[in-house]
């Protein structure tokens, strides 16, 4: 009986058009942050338990929606603990219509991984890294964004 319930749940999940998570090793993320594509990457660090993070997610989805043909890519990196992906992260994404790409990083990482992402990062979330290595754009924002501040910063960085 249990396996039948599991089968039905799996069927429902795969048909819910929910945003799925891409699970990455830290090495893959580190490598991605060094890429030299001429694209403005907007990497937001968030977690399901972080209220200010949840509140600003729709702003990043608007950026995704409004820039489908522009060289701009939003990536939402969840810092939910790996042991809580199944119980917290996946259900959250199933219940919220997130448009942007979502990553989660495997727990095995170097102890100085926060500094490797960005030495300016003090470890709080939400935190957003905006970069385009081809144009030497590298901006770190360690606090929430309002719609106004996000749009203002994007306007500034897009014209660099």
């Amino acid at each position: 009986m249990k396996w039948m319930c599991t089968l039905i749940i799996c069927f429902c999940l795969t048909n819910s058009h929910a945003q799925s998570v891409e699970y990455k090793t830290f090495a893959a993320v580190d490598s991605f942050l060094d890429n030299r594509n001429d694209t403005l990457y907007i990497v937001n660090f968030w977690a399901t338990w972080c209220k200010p993070c949840i509140e600003e997610l729709p702003l990043f989805d608007s950026v995704t929606a409004q820039n489908k043909n522009a060289p701009i890519k939003v990536i939402l990196i969840s810092l939910d603990a790996q042991i809580r992906w199944e119980d917290n992260l996946v259900p959250f994404l199933n219940n919220h219509a997130i448009q942007s790409t979502v990553w989660a990083i495997y727990k095995e990482r170097p102890t100085d991984w926060i500094d490797l992402v960005d030495p300016r990062w003090q470890g709080t979330i939400p935190a957003t890294l905006m970069f385009n290595n081809a144009r030497q754009i590298n901006y770190f924002h360690e606090t929430s964004f309002t719609e106004a501040t996000l749009n203002e910063k994007l306007k500034e960085l897009i014209h660099l």
Binding site: W49, K107, T111, T124
Partner: protein
């Protein structure tokens, strides 16, 4: 002319080089006095007879602070008798986080049986002086004749989510080194934590 230029230059530099302010390892910590959950005030100078103090900026609401709560309690249980008691400070604005109000701090401390002071940083000046940026955030202080210096800043250990999988206990190791008359091998780490809720 210089009196106009210098502050303007300083302001410009602070915009382009956002280095964290506060104490660095090796800095002397100036005395502070804050209210404890029992209404009595506690000062750093009260610890003049101790070998040092484990200052922990922490709070009630933050899931990361909660994940470390029992480990903070264990630090006091294990090290207060060895000369390094815990001193917990809540730096958050209770207007934005009612869970972190002094009344709720008292509730939590009583409920959990904290064996250490849980101070309320009402003006948030102590958090600013230290350069605390998140909860939890540890500053391990060593006492030399009433002068307190910072010897370690950062995380309690290397695994917030799985205490059983901890490989390195930074604060314990630092205390071990200090007790041998040595400097901690690792004196600065970072971990994910909640932002401090600054007054607006």
């Amino acid at each position: 002319m210089l009196s106009i230029l210098a502050p303007a230059l300083a302001a410009l530099l602070s915009l382009t080089t956002p280095a964290p302010t506060g104490y660095a390892v090796g800095d002397e910590v100036k005395n502070f006095t804050l209210n404890n959950i029992d209404g009595k005030s506690v000062s750093l100078s009260d610890y003049a007879s101790k070998e040092g103090v484990i200052v922990v900026f922490t709070c009630n609401h933050c899931p990361y602070a909660k994940a470390y709560e029992s480990r903070v309690m264990d630090l006091d249980k294990n090290f207060a008798a060895k000369g390094y008691p815990v001193l917990a400070i809540n730096p958050n604005d209770p207007v934005s986080v009612p869970d972190d109000s002094p009344e709720n701090m008292k509730k939590r401390s009583t409920e959990m049986g904290y064996t250490f002071p849980y101070l309320f940083d009402a003006t948030q000046q102590v958090a600013k002086d230290f350069g605390a940026s998140r909860t939890p955030h540890v500053f391990l202080l060593k006492n030399t004749n009433g002068k307190f210096t910072v010897e370690y800043i950062g995380a309690i250990d290397d695994n917030t989510d799985e205490p059983a999988a901890v490989k390195t206990k930074y604060v314990e190791d630092a205390i071990g080194a200090l007790k041998k008359g040595e400097k901690p091998a690792v004196n600065f780490t970072k971990a994910i934590g909640c932002t401090i809720k600054w007054k607006s």
